[in-house]
Symmetry: C2
Subunit: 95 residues, 2 copies
């Protein structure tokens, strides 16, 4: 299995990279992600669980029933890949 395939196994699922991109701006709560991305709530819950299990992000309790999602070091390491993809997407629409 190639390194690319390994990466896609973790962040290749739908919404995964978009969630990570959003978290690059700092910790976000569940409702924030939901509103900003327009992702279905069950998909968001599933992805957050998977990404946490993969060590990409972690939960941080805030108050009683609120918590924040924050990228781990491994999650932050996706910054370059996300930036490269976004650059490509930009050039794509412009050209």
């Amino acid at each position: 299995m190639s390194n690319l395939a390994t990466a896609l196994d973790v962040v290749g699922a739908r919404w995964a990279l978009l969630i990570v991109e959003r978290l690059l701006d700092g910790p976000q709560r569940y409702g924030d992600l939901q509103r900003d991305l327009g992702v279905p709530t069950n998909m968001l819950a599933t992805r957050l669980r998977e990404l946490e299990a993969a060590g990409v992000l972690s939960r941080i309790p805030l108050h009683h029933n609120t918590r924040a999602y924050v990228l781990t070091e491994r999650g932050l390491a996706l910054r370059d890949a996300i930036a490269a993809l976004a650059r490509w997407g930009d050039g794509h629409t412009t050209g």
Copy 2:
């Protein structure tokens, strides 16, 4: 829609980036991609059609019923993004 979302609209589907990665090594025929990637044949046909429509690759006739798939300039521009993702996948190595 963010640039990342735009990019994922084109190359976010399953197998898409793996196909492009394979083509970075040079033109490949249908059977080559199928064997190397282990992708279902109907998915491969669908992806190749989509990627061609998106201007990522193009078909080049070889003989009677054989042709090669080759990346366009736009497809080649994915090299950085793919390399970044592969690097991340490598550093990940199970967690």
